[in-house]
Symmetry: C2
Subunit: 314 residues, 2 copies
């Protein structure tokens, strides 16, 4: 029988989860006390993000390490979307008492490697018993003197610029649902996102006035900017072409339109910002423009077929 | 049929949860964007705390408002135990799709009233679907220039001082388990704690060198200070007398020793600190002393019968 968390007990498991954490110059006090202490320059940016087993991931499709990476990456992406840089993260993990310590060790490895990629430190957490795995990551970060980039600042005349993947995780989910496990790139994208770390700050410094990360779908999330900024956002489908993998998946699924992955797919955590056309940073690409008009998102001048976007309760 | 969260949908429910939040001078950006922005003076103290249905509370015993109050209070207590003052809180709430909006509205009311008592603001959150209610509160606070008070600073010669209730929630749990609902004070203490807000900072300013909040049990939590500080902690049972309600409960339960509630009961989130005898603040009372010796907790000079303390996985 594999070792379970109830063989080990709560406090020894917490020690195992927090042993050997890398030092970080801004972490004055890490895990092991009632709270952690961070040194953050200027205003503090904070976001919290939950993942639930069988809602945000399935064990059959994602290894424990993938789940750890996804939890950190999707939480950090919210800070990137404010133009902030992540400093510290706290993770609350609820698991069944029958959970294997192997799964938890794998989760921890995923967390550690993604924190390293994102440039932040794990500084604390909580461990509780539940009937399914629930993970809540809360990330704290700093703006390094910049103003936060919210959703309400889009201005007519700007372009909509994007950095990162669109519709890859959705294509991966589509193939996993059919029982396939390739193309590898899309399946991997479902397992954990590859947010464009440090690009939120780059866009903010370049003059982006509104920004969001794509977690629910490109059209759905741009809808939040359109509403908050009271502008019309016009996407140009010629700049949103599906790649070869996405085309392959769409063909294998009976010839569906691969543009659906890109317009409706979430979970890749690309960053999308509005910015002056001549200030789009390197590594970003324009996918449309901001105009005056009814707050809505158009694709090639037309309202897209209702795509829904992700709603946890519908 | 009562209205459920799936009748309403995720985004409208979030708007309902965050509508009409009180302004707070340190909240530069509240809920509604990818992240919130707080102005925190000096170093940032952060702690995260999870509550799971049927582990930390039962719907049969606690109203939604009680659950909201308990979630905030138990999370803030960790910051108090560092000598910090809470500023902002983010709450991740996972609920079944069949959850009534009435329950969620009640939870929100409990959160709002306890945030007001604690002196902090709700600044963000997440809402997801799960098969049971899971709540994770993450609190950010400030030290106002003081050093954080950890667990490792207890010094031989100091007294152990306490502020707040001990063993009340445990007595309440004991009566609820037997199907009773009185005495009212202990049942109420189980439903939500009454942490001594602002007293953590008072103790820190008075010179406390180690502090913890009692969440797992007095002996168990003092054990953490004994270990971290490498000192012996000697409790004086004459200073830990059960009150009339606790005595009544113990008698009703067949004559058990009411001291067990006080020594082993968690969830009241009293603050316990080590401090010089002549600097114990008003409202605090000495319950023992710090001495050199093997890191352990003694009661009247003897090791208490193993009390366990709460372990989620045992």
């Amino acid at each position: 029988m594999p070792e379970t968390i109830s063989d080990v007990g709560e406090h020894p498991m917490i020690q195992r989860l927090t042993a050997g954490l890398a030092a970080h110059p801004q972490v004055l006090l890490g895990p092991g006390d009632d709270a952690a202490v961070l040194r953050i320059a200027g205003d503090v940016v904070v976001s919290t993000d939950t993942m639930v087993e069988n809602v945000h991931f399935k064990r059959a499709w994602s290894a424990a390490e993938d789940v750890g990476r996804k939890a950190v990456a999707s939480a950090v992406a919210d800070l990137e979307a404010m133009g902030a840089h992540p400093v510290g993260i706290v993770i609350a993990l609820s698991v069944p008492a029958s959970e294997t310590t192997g799964w938890i060790d794998g989760f921890r490895q995923g967390v550690a490697s993604e924190c390293e990629r994102a440039g932040c430190a794990l500084v604390g957490g909580d461990l509780a018993r539940s009937s399914e795995v629930v993970i809540t990551c809360t990330v704290l970060g700093e703006l390094e003197g910049r103003a936060p980039v919210g959703r309400a600042g889009a201005l007519p005349g700007q372009v909509i610029a994007c950095c990162g993947n669109l519709g890859m995780a959705e294509a991966g989910l589509a193939v996993l649902r059919r029982g396939f496990s390739s193309p590898a790139a899309v399946v991997r994208a479902h397992r954990f996102p590859d947010p464009p770390y440090r690009q939120g700050a780059v866009a903010a410094a370049a003059g982006a006035t509104a920004m969001i990360d794509i977690s629910d779908g490109l059209v759905a999330d741009l809808g939040h900017i359109a509403q908050a900024s009271a502008v019309q956002l016009e996407l140009d489908s010629a700049r949103l072409r599906a790649n070869a993998d996405q085309q392959r998946v769409a063909a294998a699924l009976g010839g569906i339109d691969p543009a659906q992955f890109i317009l409706a797919g979430g979970d890749d955590h690309a960053l999308v910002a509005t910015i002056a056309a001549d200030r789009v940073p390197q590594g970003w690409f324009a996918i449309g423009k901001v105009s005056e008009g009814e707050p809505r998102v158009l694709v090639d001048g037309r309202e897209p077929t209702p795509l829904g976007g992700w709603d946890h309760f519908k």
